[in-house]
Symmetry: C2
Subunit: 346 residues, 2 copies
């Protein structure tokens, strides 16, 4: 089967956006606060809203998408912490409903109510709640300031309480920033990619996985700039007297395939060990158009993976399914419970 | 001939660092201010200080290096604007002396006394001064806040006065950040690469080259994440209704080859037009070690370019020499004046 580990709910019903508008308007004028947290969205509306994703799954040949709230919509820097808690819960609840209505097609991943400067402990109740609902992972934002990088690096003890809870609950985190409120830094074109690169470098500098040997992070968008600069990172690690990247990071850090052209995916396959690559398309995400050079959607990443000649069938199984089951053990169990066990690992 | 367009003076005499220490100590205790701006560095000391670079030029087969002050040393966010003016002038003067003493080996590029929030006009006198001394280009920092991205994007009218002066003086700019004062963002492992990616995206979002059709920018470190995500950038430009990147940016934006492994350089050669790639190694720069996988220095980038099979001899001429002469017309004239004219462009 083909597991796409990176999809966001970017086709949310308008009622969600209307709620958010009222919620934020209420900061300036309390008379505009939403009167209810019941969005009034029906199951039928939810199923209808994800038809584009279902159509792409069918057309491109993927089976199940790990589905989380719109990344730029998380808006951790927006408003205040209390509002963020309501917003995270509401966003996660919609994901839960979609994945419950269409369990063959979607598996849920949640957002956290992070807020700049707030203790990360404040996110633990929501993490416990969503894993209790069946979520298989969580998105963790290394920069809740939205483009100004005001949080300590991911290796800092600030983050340890959430890692401890992740370990206890057996969930990995995708390291994913939200929108940028910095006019110098475009969200999908700079902040997302910089977020990936910065997070990798934070992990390279530190020794986090000595303290959390089982912690697992997925760095999206192919790892930002990292595979392109693989020699630079191997060299910097060596200059810093760190172990080889395979030892230092690659038991814990994984990259997805959200890279929107064949040469990029070919590069990944050359330098990143196949055990560290997880298939993903981010659809419907950052780039929606058709590549005039190929006649296919830029984000139809399965086409690129299929074209990489150096991959064996065993490699492809890992990228499309095996690695995802290993990194997301709750996904593996969810699929097995639905009669879809994976192959036994070699 | 082989022109390396990206070298920094990272082997400066200790007297320069001692001056900087006193200069910054003087902010806290005026009794510690340096008593003189005469560093007392002899020509002999200068020539000796660049022996490592000369040895690498000989060993690796490059002829001339475009030489600028240490990038992380620019420190635009450090101290105050007045101190930055003294520091820039002093740093540029050392570059001038090295390149005057060894004109066959080095061509000078300068730094600007940028300061967060200060008008960019304040940098014009230093730019005029160094071009008067024979400098062939300048380094422009898109984030003088040192990792917090507090300046407007490069397409903003804030920057126009320096572009107008660059046009008048016929000098290109390398877009190069300095050190990071943000503990979340490592300088060579994240800030440099993010700076490249962010600058490219700023240019993609805007229409700067409509106003400055002859302005030329070099984005170092292979363009940050850009070639790896070439499909993403083509797709985002298309979604934004921009022209093709070739039309929109590539008459004005160039990338160097500071990418420290063969697969990265191969990717660049596949996706970036050969007219937009300029040879560079950044030596002695971000990565100083020997790659255990090849037995050669990571930053011996000529080896990678030489190994890319798809490049013709004409392509190699462009990457090693022709493009640099075109992007840096003052370099072309400097070389021609020393009896080294380039080939006529096709």
């Amino acid at each position: 089967m083909i597991i796409d580990i990176h999809g966001h709910y970017t086709t949310e019903p308008q009622a969600l956006h209307q709620f958010r508008d009222k919620q934020l308007a209420g900061l300036a004028d309390s008379g505009r606060k939403p009167s209810s947290e019941d969005l009034g969205i029906t199951d039928e509306q939810l199923v209808k809203s994800v038809q584009p994703q279902l159509d792409f799954q069918r057309a491109r040949g993927s089976d199940v998408t790990i589905f989380s709230p719109r990344a730029s919509g998380m808006g951790h820097h927006v408003g205040n912490e209390a509002i963020g808690h309501v917003w995270s819960r509401m966003s996660n609840d919609l994901i839960h409903r979609v994945c419950t209505l269409l369990p063959e097609n979607f598996a849920p991943v949640g957002q956290l109510p992070q807020f700049p400067g707030a203790p990360i402990e404040n996110c633990i109740p929501e993490l416990e709640r969503i894993v209790g609902l069946g979520f298989v992972g969580v998105n963790l934002n290394p920069d809740p300031s939205g483009g100004y990088w005001k949080s300590p690096p991911l290796t800092d003890r600030y983050w340890y309480p959430i890692y401890e809870k992740m370990m206890q609950l057996e969930v990995p985190a995708m390291i994913h920033v939200t929108g940028s409120c910095n006019p110098a830094v475009h969200f999908t074109g700079a902040h997302y990619i910089n977020g990936d690169t910065t997070a990798f470098m934070q992990l390279l500098q530190g020794n986090l996985f000595r303290d959390f040997p089982d912690l697992k992070f997925v760095i999206p968008h192919g790892g930002g700039a990292v595979p392109f600069h693989w020699g630079r990172y191997r060299g910097i690690a060596q200059d810093m007297k760190k172990p080889l990247l395979t030892e230092h990071l690659l038991k814990n850090v994984f990259f997805d395939t959200c890279v929107y052209h064949l040469p990029g995916i070919e590069l990944m396959a050359k330098v990143v060990p196949v055990d560290n690559i997880l298939f993903a398309s981010e659809m419907l995400g950052a780039v929606k158009g058709i590549d005039p050079e190929t006649g296919h959607h830029f984000d139809d990443t399965k086409r690129y993976v299929d074209q990489v000649k150096m991959l064996s069938e065993a490699d492809r199984y890992k990228i499309y399914e095996g690695n995802a089951r290993r990194v997301y053990p709750r996904l593996d169990r969810r699929l097995a419970a639905r009669g879809k066990p994976g192959k036994k690992a070699a």
